[in-house]
Each structure stands twice: as C-alpha cells, then as structure tokens.
C-alpha cells in the first residue's frame, strides 16, 4: 500500500496540523496485530487463555494507548 504523500506546504502552513511526526506512531497498531508469529501460539496461558487469544485482546490496549498518545500530542493548544 502506498505511503501517504505529504502535501505541498504552500497554502497556510499554520493550519497543517496533520503533519506531525507523531502520526507515524499510528502505524504500530496497524502493523503489529497483523504479524501472526507473535500471537499464533498456545503458551504461555493467562487465566486459561492461550496466547493466541489474550495477546490479540491485549493489542486492543496497544491501539488505545497509541491513538490516545497521538491525540494528546497533536491536539491544538489553546485555540477556539
């Protein structure tokens, strides 16, 4: 899949809030949950759950943590 191309920063660069490098962090919760080597196994078990199940459920937290971090780091400060 093509990486998003940065737009020409000619028009009103002060508005270009989407260009923060923090956004690149969002690729972590897109890529990591899609690597089967990490989750496709039985041990260790947690509360009786094979790794396949608890680790993929734990990735939800990875996603939440990343989007929260990026939101906090990129939101406009002060502003109306």
């Amino acid at each position: 899949m093509a990486a998003p191309e940065p737009e020409a920063p000619s028009a009103a660069p002060t508005r270009a809030k989407d260009h923060s490098p923090w956004n690149w962090l969002l690729f972590i919760p897109i890529v990591v949950p899609l690597i089967p080597v990490f989750f496709n196994g039985d041990s260790p078990r947690v509360f009786g759950f094979p790794r396949f199940y608890w680790l993929q459920l734990a990735y939800i937290l990875l996603g939440v943590a990343t989007t929260t971090l990026v939101y906090q780091m990129t939101k406009k400060r002060g502003g109306s």
Partner: protein, 549 residues
C-alpha cells in the same frame, strides 16, 4: 413450541416497543429549526458530540449480524473466526489518519457522501457515480443480513410458521416500524436507540463472560472442549490456533475488512455526523471498547461448544444453522427473563445499523444519482424528501431479499460487498491524500479490481459448494506451488491500484485533461467554526473559492 419461551418473548417485545417509541420521539431530540434539509435528516445536523458519536458509530460498526456470525464462525472453524479482533483494532488508527481528513473536507464543502468528495476532487461525475453505485450495492445485502440476526433469535424463541409469509411476518412488522421512524427522525433515531442497544449488549456480555465460564468449569475447560471438537473434525483448517495454510488469509482478511469497513457508506455517515475533528479523534481511543466486547462475544462460540449446544436445522434439508448457537446458548444457560434481554439486545442491535445503512444508501442515491442526473436544481428540502423515500425503498428491498430469496444469497452478496467496497479505496481514501491518480485511471482500475474480485470469489469452493464458498482464495489457482490462501479483496485492490497507476502514467504521457480539483490542501484540516463554511449554500464544484482568511 413458542409457549415454552413466553417470558423471553414478552421481555423481547417490551424492549422492542420501547425503542420504537424512542425512534419516533427522536425527531424532537436536539431538534433543528428546519428538518427539511439533508444535513439534518441524513447527518443529524452534523452536531454529534463525543458520547453520541461513541454510541452511534459503535452501534453502527458492530452489527447484530457480527454478534451472531462471529461466534458462529468460531463455533464452526475456531481460531480463523477471531480475525474480527485484529480487524477492529487496525481500523481505528486508519480512521484517525484518513477519515478525519474526509470529515474536514466534507465540513468545508458540505459533502454528505464519499461520492460527493470524489466528484469534486477528481472533477468526474462518472467516477462519483461508480463510487455511489458501489456503495449502494455493497450496503443493500448488509441491511438484509441484519434481518438474519433477528431471525436467528426468533427461531430460537420458536417464533416460526408453516409458510414463508407466517415465518417472516414478525420481521416484516419490525422493519415496517423501523422504516416509519427512520422516515420521520432520520439519523437521530438510530443515534438515540443506540444508547439502549449498546447498554443492553454491554450488560449481557459482561454477565455472560463472568457467569458462563463459572458454570462451564472455567476458561481452561472451555478451550479444551473447543480443542477436542476441532481435533475430532475432518477439516484440516479448523482448530484453536491457526496453521501454515490460513495465517496469510487471517491477516489479509483482517486488514482488508478494516479497509473495507471504513469505506462503507454507513461508517462514513456516522463519522460525518460528528461535530468536530476532536470528537472523531477522541473516539478512536474510546471505540476499541467495542472491540474488546466483540472479542469476548467471539468466545461465546467456544462456550457453546463446551455447553454442548446443537445448532437448529437450517433452511435446507440436512443443513444446520450455526447462527443459532449463541441464542441457543443463552436459552440453555440463562434464566428466561435474562435470555429475553439478551435477545432484545441482538434484535435492537440489528435496527441501529439497518437504519444508518438505509440512510447512507439513500443519501448516495439522492446526492449522486438524483441530484446529479435527474434534477440538478433540487432544493435542500427536495433532497431530504427524496432521501426519506429512498430509505423506505431500500428497506423494502432488504426485506424482499430475505423473504423471497435464499438467505444464503444475502450472505454471498455481503461477501462480495466487502470485496467491491474495497475497490473504492484508491479514489476515496488515497484521494484524500493525493490527486496523483488520473480520474480515468481510477475508473479503469476500479473496473479491473471489480472484475478480478468477482472472478476470484466465483472460483472459491467450500466443502458444500462449488462457487462463492468463501473469501479465502487458494494461491495455487495463480500457479503458486502452495496450499496457502489469501483474502480476495486484498488481491483485487492491489491489482486495482496497479492498473490505476499504469493508466495514469499513460494518460499523463498522452496529456489527457485531468479536470479541476475543487478542493484546496487547506480544506483537509478545516475544523468546526471554520470561517469559510457557510452552512447550506455550498454544495457545487463550481462555487467560487473564497480567499483564505
């Protein structure tokens, strides 16, 4: 038969009638001065804050069919059904990156549908028409599938009849009520009902995941029971873990479904209804709560195995309907009144997405077919009216699909729907970032992706069927020496992109006109209170560009 389930039926009916009343009252909730405008009827005034958006989009993406079909898949195939979890993790960062830009540009220009955006961005009514038709065709069977969710519940309660009409009467009544309040209240109806739906689902699932493992001997025993079932089955690709053959399918299906889900018109409608960029971004951190819920719901499929549930017979002789395993599990394990609450959760869970989907399809028709080709100078009031009527037609069509056709047909269509909606990715999602692609390149790429996708789906066989047996395409069909499978949609969209790129290069070399971009780089960051937004007037590509303040 149904007399055994009287308590369940009473609780179900009571909750169903309660939300029906809410649906009608919703027209007065956060009431606008003028309801006769598509922004009001079709997007709830573009005014929803954090909480409403959370319930609305959550209720929209996690449909009744998902809640019934995912555990059914776990029950039948095991680990492969768990793809729903990575699928619903991956989607939120994607929305965070991509759909926020769509919200901004739509807010700035008054776009109601993704096809509105494509029309302005690429200056191509033909491409917009293709995007709109793709969206409508992909959405219709999805609405029909919501009915299958309700039917699974009714069947378990013994509400069936001897002939087709008697069997489907409850669903026809339910959809008639749904159609009436959607007609009157627009997007406000599902937004309000979503509060009830999601609360019920959270209660039911929290109780289920604490109480059922306690009754069934703990999680270790549940997984052991599932493991034993799959070991005993002749199918080599089931099991509580993935094997070498289906890992690629698993991750490509998760990624492809995530890309498809946020391109579906009903997801975009939910996102566009929020009031500003912050609401969307904050929700990307809050919506994964539903993914956790879905993961736990998926495991109900294993609990059904541990509890020894036997699915009810299917529509055809000798088949079983795995979609009934979760309702049966509730019937078997819960007291009657609580099973009734659980059934109501599933039933109401079907209404919210069905309403939003019919609104989204109606908006596509109104904006990109009616206004574009039938009545150019339609007033906002006429637009709203056409959308309301179209939403009725769409629902009648969905009911007709279920009553007159084999339900399997809707399931096949939905499978196809996911693949075809993915073919709008280059124009809609990449279009938000770049205008590099030539409009004709996108049209040719779309056609190539559609053609290849349909051919591949046709080739997929399953143990019971020769064609349309699923979305896992064996790579050996392409001549690779392997038993691995891959998700059809990913291959189709890759070919779509490659063709679009090649045709773009060729057309650019030939200096074919590319049209005028109706948007500016700045529009993709516009937020609530943008001084350039003048609600209700801006809607045409030809409108003059105001100077940037």
């Amino acid at each position: 038969m149904w007399r055994d389930h009287l308590t369940e039926i009473i609780v179900f009916t009571f909750l169903f009638l309660l939300v029906s009343v809410m649906g009608f009252v919703a027209a007065r909730w956060r009431a606008p001065n003028d309801m006769a405008h598509l922004d009001e009827w079709g997007l709830g005034g573009r005014s929803f804050g954090g909480w409403i958006t959370w319930f609305l989009v959550g209720g929209d993406l996690y449909t009744a069919y998902t809640f019934v079909a995912v555990p059914a898949l776990m029950f039948g195939a095991g680990a492969a059904g768990f793809f729903a979890v990575p699928y619903t993790i991956v989607i939120y960062p994607l929305v965070f990156l991509v759909l926020v830009r769509l919200w901004s540009v739509s807010h700035r220009h008054g776009f109601v549908t993704p096809a509105d955006f494509v029309r302005n961005r690429f200056d191509s009514p033909v491409l917009a028409l293709l995007i709109a038709i793709t969206g409508i065709v992909a959405t219709m069977p999805y609405i029909a599938l919501q009915l299958i969710g309700i039917e699974a519940v009714l069947k378990t309660m013994g509400v069936t009849g001897d002939n087709a009409l008697a069997r489907h009467l409850p669903i026809i009544i339910a959809f008639a009520i749904l159609a009436a309040y959607t007609y009157q209240s627009g997007l406000r109806a599902p937004a309000l009902i979503a509060f009830v739906k999601d609360s019920l689902i959270y209660i039911v699932i929290l109780v289920a995941i604490v109480y059922l493992p306690y009754k069934l001997g703990g999680w270790g025993d549940i997984f052991a029971a599932a493991d034993a079932k799959f070991d005993a089955s002749p199918n080599p690709n089931d099991g509580i873990l993935l094997n070498g053959n289906n890992q690629l399918q698993y991750v490509t299906l998760a990624l492809g479904s995530a890309l498809a889900l946020f391109l579906y018109p009903h997801s975009i409608t939910g996102v566009l209804a929020s009031k500003n960029r912050d609401v969307i971004k904050r929700n990307m951190s809050a919506l994964p709560a539903y993914s956790l819920l879905l993961g736990l719901i998926a495991l109900l499929g294993y609990m059904a195995i541990a509890a020894g549930v036997k699915p009810l017979p299917g529509a055809k002789e000798g088949t079983v309907d795995n979609n009934t395993v979760v309702p049966l599990l509730f019937d078997q394990q819960f007291p009657d009144w609580f099973a009734g609450v659980a059934y109501a959760a599933i039933g109401i869970g079907a209404l919210v997405p069905a309403a939003i989907m019919s609104i989204a399809a109606a908006n596509l028709f109104t904006r990109n077919i009616y206004k574009e080709y039938l009545k150019r100078d339609a007033s906002p009031a006429q637009e709203a009216n056409v959308s309301k009527i179209t939403s009725l037609v769409v629902k009648v069509g969905a009911v007709a699909c279920i009553v007159f056709l084999d339900p399997q047909f809707s399931i096949d269509l939905q499978l196809i729907g996911g693949v075809i909606i993915l073919q709008t990715l280059p124009a809609v999602a990449l279009g938000l970032y770049t205008r590099w692609f030539h409009r004709t390149g996108l049209i040719v790429g779309w056609a190539a992706g559609m053609g290849l996708g349909m051919w591949m789906l046709y080739q997929v066989a399953s143990p019971t069927r020769k064609h349309f047996g699923g979305s896992a395409f064996p790579l050996s069909e392409f001549g690779f020496d392997t038993t691995r499978t891959i998700y059809v949609g990913i291959v189709a969209v890759a070919v779509n992109l490659a063709v679009a790129a090649l045709v773009t290069l060729a057309l650019r070399a030939a200096k074919v006109a590319e049209g005028v971009d109706g948007t500016e780089p700045d529009d993709y960051f516009a937020d609530e209170g943008d001084p350039r937004v003048t609600p209700g007037t801006e809607s045409d590509a030809a409108s003059a560009r105001e100077p940037v303040a």
